[in-house]
């Protein structure tokens, strides 16, 4: 019987706010429409309160023309 280790939590950060402003001050509503989610979901992702699915993370990155690692980063807390 091996010892079960609880994984240490990941601290997720993102560059969405900076990228929105670098892309003509794109609003959260515009980003939401282009990624087919609600504005509240973009607010939650941007604030780090909600970890998006891989698909949504790719959609956000592609909207900015960036690779996913330039938008989302994770480190062990």
């Amino acid at each position: 019987m091996g010892t079960a280790h609880r994984p240490r939590p990941l601290k997720l950060t993102n560059q969405i706010r900076r990228l929105r402003f670098e892309h003509g001050e794109m609003t959260q509503q515009e980003l939401a429409e282009r990624t087919h989610v609600t504005r509240q979901t973009i607010i939650a992702v941007e604030a780090g309160k909600y970890a998006p699915s891989l698909e949504l993370a790719f959609r956000i990155a592609l909207t900015f023309g960036e690779s996913i690692e330039n938008v989302f980063t994770a480190e062990i807390a």
């Binding site: 939401a32 989610v37 609600t38 509240q40 607010i43 939650a44 604030a47 309160k49």
Partner: protein, 152 residues
Amino acid sequence: MKRILGSSSLREQSVWATLAVTLVVYGFYAGSAWNGSAATDGGAALGLLIGSVVAQVILLIILSIALALLTPQEPRDERELRIEWRSAQVGYVALVSCVLLAVPAIFIWSAAGAAGGPSPQPVLIGHALFLSVIVSEVLQGATQIILYRRGA
């Protein structure tokens, strides 16, 4: 309230409306069942039950139409689906817990009745089981609102 309406999606507003209607309609139901003839009379209890469900459906239709007219339509997204799944789990656990508590209570009550004490009345058992459904519905709605307010 204005701040919540302005910062919430159509789905979150629908949850608020459903929870409010449930509390009002079934608060009235509970008050009537507790004080009126519906506490012991099966016919009155059935009338109260049907009346409450019809009132709930009518109020929810009116509120849904009003919300759809006042709030822009948005696609249901992954975060909202996740919130629905997590709150449905809470509602399911609450429903099962209430029923698992109600069943042995009814058996114990029946045993007491067989021993000469007060016997369980079918109307009260019906009220208790219906209350289980309402409690789980309220907990599910409250969980949804907490998750929406927290972000996810």
